[in-house]
């Protein structure tokens, strides 16, 4: 039996930022979280726009799109806080 996923912390925007690609409603949830990260100075407007473009498509990975468009992906966007990539 699979373990139940941990409950989402509504006060932590990154919890929604890392919602798995493909999960129902995840595109919108990631974009909403990205807006919070933008407000907190954690991501730039360019990266926020990537999340906006992916917001209606739960299967679209914003990290993949950012890399395709050669936008530096901020650390906060990466699972487990990896080093920024481009």
């Amino acid at each position: 039996m699979m373990a139940a996923p941990p409950p989402i912390d509504h006060d932590d925007p990154t919890a929604f930022l890392h919602m798995p690609v493909g999960k129902n409603g995840s595109g919108a949830a990631r974009y909403a979280a990205a807006m919070q990260c933008y407000n907190n100075g954690l991501i730039c407007a360019e990266m926020l726009e990537i999340y906006r473009r992916c917001s209606k498509f739960d299967l679209e990975d914003p990290i993949d799109l950012a890399r395709y468009e050669e936008i530096t992906v901020p650390a906060v966007c990466l699972p487990n806080q990896q080093e920024p990539t481009s």
Binding site: P13, F16, M19, A28, Y31, A32, A33, M35, A45, S55
Partner: protein, 398 residues
């Protein structure tokens, strides 16, 4: 005032006429009804159990207005106009669903927190700094009564829902309807009649013996209508002692059993509270439900309804609830036909209007409530449509 002190007596010599026929096919009157009845009177949007989690929402459209009710991150219920502050798009486009952490406008992508404040506009660098509250969603007045969520788009003449329904508070609370849970969602159907024809049929039980064999079999002999008093009517059907001749009724009577939480006098009753102008909350031992009708055009209406059940339900109760729904569905279909026949008569130059029985006094009191809000209903002949609003306004002043 409590349930015992409401004056529900029928006067000895009452005016048995209904509304004039023109009231059922006047576009100018419908415009007034939308503005001064529907938008200014309490409407049932849903039940608290329709919003189980943070981000759960229900949308509610009424007479060119649109609202959304949601549960925010702290569990609080909130109601907003379903209108983005940027260009006015709908924020939620489905009848119900979940938006886990925010509301996002599907047009340009403005993002709102679940408390309605603006999280941020799309392409924020293209705007000056926006105040999150000034650009937040506009709230809609909301009240929760025994689990039902009522909305009102504009202030109006009614008191709070709790005050209006105070005479029935003890009776309603006994059903523990606030802890009920959804059954099969919110149901809507469009019907080709003026909304008042739906209400006229629903506001009297005189037709039950003739038109609703299942209801007659269930409780017809005991059916009692109390008229609208201060915006609320009450109807009671006590199960008749017979076993029931019809399959659904016979088995319902066999399976329905006293609910432990209900006082004995409610063990075998179906009970209805009519809430002016267009809503009903109905209670059976197994379920509570609401239904209502809204105008779409002068000759089309939307009927909207949802049923909720006791949280803990065993197989027998479930079967009884199924039979309740079956009896109810049969009754609704029969009523829809009656509303069509009644409505079409209103366009006939040969029909001289209602002549009501004492058993239809509820229709008259509903019409009296309408006349109080819009005195133009008292005119026997249709006024010039272009003058109707101004005429009504002048009648309100006198």
């Amino acid at each position: 005032m409590d349930i015992k002190t409401r004056d529900v007596s029928i006067p000895a010599d009452w005016d048995r006429r209904g509304l004039p026929g023109w009231c059922y096919h006047s576009d100018a009157l419908l415009d007034l009804e939308k503005e001064e009845l529907f938008k200014t009177h309490w409407q049932i949007a849903c039940h608290v159990s329709d919003l189980p989690n943070a981000g759960s929402f229900v949308s509610f459209d009424l007479c060119e207005e649109r609202a959304l009710v949601l549960r925010d991150a702290s569990g609080e219920l909130r109601a907003f106009h379903n209108i983005c502050r940027h260009r006015g798009s709908r924020l939620v486009t489905k009848e119900s669903g979940t938006c886990p952490n925010a509301l996002i406008c599907p047009f340009h992508g403005w993002v709102y927190n679940l408390d309605g404040s603006l999280r941020g506009p799309a392409r924020p660098e293209s705007f000056p700094s926006l105040d999150k509250d000034v650009f937040g969603l506009r709230p809609v007045e909301m009240e929760v009564w025994n689990g039902f969520i009522f909305l009102r788009f504009r202030p109006g003449p009614q008191p709070s829902v709790a005050e209006m329904l105070a005479p029935f508070e003890a009776e309603a609370t006994a059903y523990r309807m606030a802890s009920h849970v959804p059954t099969d969602g919110i149901w809507t159907e469009e019907t080709p009649v003026n909304w008042k024809s739906v209400r006229d049929v629903d506001n009297e039980g005189y037709h039950v013996a003739m038109a609703h064999p299942a209801l007659q079999d269930l409780y017809g002999s005991s059916y009692q209508d109390e008229p609208y008093v201060d915006g609320v009517s009450r109807t009671v059907g006590q199960f008749s002692p017979s076993k029931g001749r019809r399959w659904a009724v016979r088995n319902y009577k066999k399976l329905s059993r006293p609910q432990e939480h209900l006082p004995e006098d409610l063990h075998q009753k179906w009970l209805y509270f009519g809430i002016f102008p267009n809503s009903v909350i109905a209670m059976t031992p197994e379920t509570v439900l609401f239904y209502q009708e809204f105008p779409v055009t002068v000759g089309r209406s939307t009927i909207r309804s949802a049923t909720y059940r006791n949280r803990d339900e065993d197989r027998q109760q479930r079967a009884a609830r199924y039979l309740t729904a079956r009896i109810d569905r049969e009754t609704v279909d029969e009523d829809i036909q009656l509303t069509i026949w009644s409505n079409e008569s209103m366009a006939s130059k040969s029909f001289e209007g209602f002549y009501l029985s004492d058993l239809e006094y509820g229709v008259r009191t509903h019409h009296n409530h309408l006349r109080k809000v819009l005195p133009v209903y008292t005119l026997e002949d249709a006024p010039e449509q272009a003058d109707l609003a101004a005429l009504n306004a002048s009648m309100q002043r006198t």
